[in-house]
């Protein structure tokens, strides 16, 4: 029987256009609060670095650089890459190493530095996560993949664009209350709906941000948890899934096959159902992605995700609060940091430590993280349980 594993601490840098820092300084910013809680380097057995896109920095051997910078130069480390799902892929790797007994205490760090190149260059780099032979030559950028899903969804379910804009309005409402957020400001439905087009049918407010930032959590084996905290958050269920590389090969564009697969596995492992989940952090790299996530996670039937939006069930006091930290849209999306940041947010919410009462979700027993790489080729879903 595998050992249980808990998240015992977390740290989070300010997200934003961070020209005052590069990957190493951002990682230090994320690890420092953990260090200050007493989890010093000597207590950590090994690290996993979630660092999705080294082309932005040109730095190879990233996990060596970061480990050294943080004073972990003599601790084993490795780097994981799974596009935008790198954060949870790293957590999955660390979970496996701890559950198997290889290590007891691991620091999982996620980071990305994306703003030292132009938006066009950043879009270029991310487009190369499409099939370089058959998709990239047609200029299918990262938003374009999700726009292909949006066009199909809009057509199949007769979805008005305003529903997507309502998701962005909610993201910004909560991002405005999150001191770590990249773009902490409220937007109106009108602004969101009429914004400049990026990849029609998606406009500027349907798209997440190009962000610099880092986040970190510490995972510990069951028998050692008490040494670290009396408020652990247990990993209750993990599910991973995958989808076809080329988007044209997907059987449907109104759902992400890998997300449904991952959700089923995570719920099964946790012994829980969608109705049991008290809050979710979902991968809203684009507004349409959040809508599809509601359905893939079983919070709504296919085609009915809009009801959650229109009834505001996704707000902090609603039936299924989603992304009450601002999400990728307003908090920001530093690729490698995102999955870790989502996990950090659930830890904070469970501990009642959301920054403001106006975004504190009440009594979170079970929280879910849904982290999607590229356009769904990689999906990891974690279900966490409050352990106090």
């Amino acid at each position: 029987m595998a050992r249980r594993v808990a998240v015992v601490a977390g740290g989070h840098s300010k997200f934003g256009k961070r020209l005052d820092a590069t990957v190493r300084e951002l990682c230090a910013e994320a690890y420092k609060p953990i260090y200050d809680e007493g989890i010093t380097q000597d207590r950590i057995d090994a690290t996993v670095l979630s660092y999705a896109a080294s082309q932005f920095t040109g730095q190879g051997a990233g996990s060596a650089l970061i480990a050294d910078y943080l004073g972990l130069q003599n601790k084993p480390h490795l780097r994981v890459e799974s596009a935008c799902a790198t954060g949870t892929a790293s957590l999955r790797a660390a979970y496996g190493m701890i559950a198997s007994g290889l290590y007891d205490v691991m620091l999982v760090l996620g980071v990305e530095q994306m703003n030292r190149v132009s938006s066009a260059t950043a879009t270029e780099y991310m487009a190369r996560a499409g099939d370089m032979r058959w998709e990239y030559p047609f200029g299918i950028s990262f938003p374009a993949f999700y726009a292909l899903m949006a066009s199909r969804y809009i057509s199949e379910y007769n979805l008005p664009h305003e529903v997507l804009s309502m998701i962005s309005v909610k993201s910004h409402h909560y991002g405005a209350q999150n001191p770590k957020a990249h773009l902490p400001k409220e937007v109106s439905l009108e602004e969101a709906h009429n914004a400049v087009p990026i990849c029609r049918p998606l406009n500027l407010y349907d798209c997440s941000l190009i962000t610099d930032g880092a986040a970190a959590v510490v995972l510990v084996a069951e028998e050692r948890v008490k040494e670290f905290t009396d408020r652990p958050m247990w990993i209750k269920g993990i599910g991973a899934g995958a989808s076809q590389m080329m988007i044209q090969d997907r059987p449907s564009l109104t759902s992400i096959p890998g997300a449904k697969q991952a959700a089923k596995a995570a719920y099964e492992m946790a012994g829980l159902k969608p109705n049991d989940i008290n809050m979710a952090e979902v991968h809203d790299c684009f507004s349409i992605a959040e809508l599809i996530a509601y359905e893939d996670l079983g919070f709504a039937e296919p085609g009915k995700g809009r009801e959650i939006v229109e009834n505001k069930e996704n707000y902090h006091d609603g039936r299924i609060p989603v992304n009450c930290d601002g999400g990728l849209k307003s908090k920001g999306h530093p690729l490698g940091a995102t999955g870790i940041s989502m996990t950090y947010e659930i830890l904070k919410q469970m501990r009642g430590e959301a920054d403001k009462p106006s975004r504190q979700i009440k009594d979170v027993q079970y929280g879910l993280v849904h982290n999607v790489g590229q356009s769904g080729q990689f999906v990891n879903i974690f279900i966490y349980e409050r352990g106090f």
Binding site: S118, S119, A120, T121, T123, E124, Y125, M126, A127, M132, R133, W134, E135, Y136, P137, F138, G139, I140, S141, P143, A144, A147, L148, M149, S151, R152, S155, V196, P197, I198, C199, R200, M246, I247, Q248, D249, L253
Partner: protein
């Protein structure tokens, strides 16, 4: 800075062309689209694969003759990757043929916004003396 070069099928063809893929590109010059068929289990692929996804056997190129398709989904790219920034806005479409095979390419002659389900026709375009690509027409 990203590399500035004209995009073409098999980006960075100087680095990524194989004899199999090169044959696909040469046939495009003759305005032929090639699919591939597994020599062992017969599964067909468009665009072609050299190795069968099911049994990893070698595939052979075969001419793909369907031309009429329906628009499965589309995107109008207003803000593109650096390498295609000068071409925006452009429309990328997934077309589905009656056989169920699909292909992704630009629609180049739209006068009105595209609609899912609209008919598309597969056509060819000469980029320069040596290179031909495929595209959708409405």
């Amino acid at each position: 800075m990203a590399e500035q070069k004209e995009l073409y099928l098999g980006y960075a063809t100087d680095k990524a062309v194989t004899p199999f893929f090169d044959k696909f590109l040469r046939e495009l010059e003759n305005e032929k689209i090639m699919k591939s068929k597994c020599t062992s289990c017969g599964t067909e692929y468009l665009p072609p694969r050299q190795h069968c996804q099911k049994c990893l056997s070698e595939c052979e190129l075969e001419e793909f003759t369907e031309r009429e398709a329906k628009l499965y989904s589309y995107v109008i790219v207003d803000f593109g990757p650096e390498s295609l920034a000068s071409k925006t806005p452009y429309v990328v479409a997934i077309g589905e043929f009656p056989s169920g095979l699909r292909l992704t390419a630009h629609i180049t002659n739209l006068m009105a916004p595209p609609e899912v389900g609209m008919p598309l026709k597969l056509a060819f375009e000469k980029i320069d003396e040596k290179r031909v690509t495929y595209k959708w027409l409405v």
